[in-house]
Amino acid sequence: MDVLYFAWVRERIGLPRERVETGAATVADLVSELSAREDRYAAAFADLSALRVALDQELSDFDAPLAGVREVAFFPPMTGG
């Protein structure tokens, strides 16, 4: 699946998007997998309450299943307007 990062999450991880091969069942499982990779991921995902997640461009939550999902995006709370 494609994993996208925005704003300070993108800056902390150091890239805007990447292709991830994963068997993670939920968003939380994917976060654990990524956090175990390298410190920069662990740092970005240290406080999940400061993050939001979208699955296929719809806001979702960290308990949500990943089955059939093609695009996951992590970002801080939005500041539009």
Binding site: F6, E58, F75, P76, P77, M78, G80, G81
Partner: protein
């Protein structure tokens, strides 16, 4: 209904006039405009606005459709810019048209409340002494409760 997500500046007067000209039967047109203000006592050089292409358009369309249905709007316009903007530049505008002003005002407030916390934009203030992501405010999230 028109939703535009763009880097280019837009002419507020032209947009408002064109919108009003298309809804002459409505009776009430409300517009709101957001402008880059200089919060850091003159030190703000620019506001960098990042967004999530694809999701942004979808999220705004769905917010605008909900508003149009709830307040029986004749028309809705949302223009939101991204990229690097300077203090004083127009960031975005919404316009709503309805038969009565109460509906047009309420719908515009609803649009603004949702655009603020549910449209995937992120603002970064670039000042002379560094740059910082603008943090979302608890009040902005709480503002959604009234709807």
């Amino acid at each position: 209904m028109r939703i535009a997500v763009q880097t280019d500046p837009f002419d507020l007067g032209e947009e408002a006039n064109a919108f009003a000209a298309g809804v002459t039967a409505a009776g009430a047109v409300v517009t709101f405009t957001g402008v880059v203000r200089d919060l850091a006592q003159g030190g703000l050089r620019a506001m960098e606005i990042e967004h999530y292409p694809g999701m942004t358009e979808k999220a705004i369309t769905s917010i605008a459709e909900r508003a149009a249905e709830r307040w029986s709007l004749s028309d809705v316009l949302v223009i939101h810019r991204h990229g690097q903007l300077r203090p004083g530049e127009t960031i975005m505008m919404v316009a709503t048209a309805a038969p009565h002003r109460k509906h047009a005002f309420e719908a515009a407030e609803y649009l603004m409340d949702y655009l603020k916390s549910r449209a995937p934009f992120w603002k970064k203030e670039i000042a002379a002494d560094g740059s910082e992501w603008v943090a979302a405010k608890v009040e902005d999230e709480d503002a959604l409760d009234r709807w």
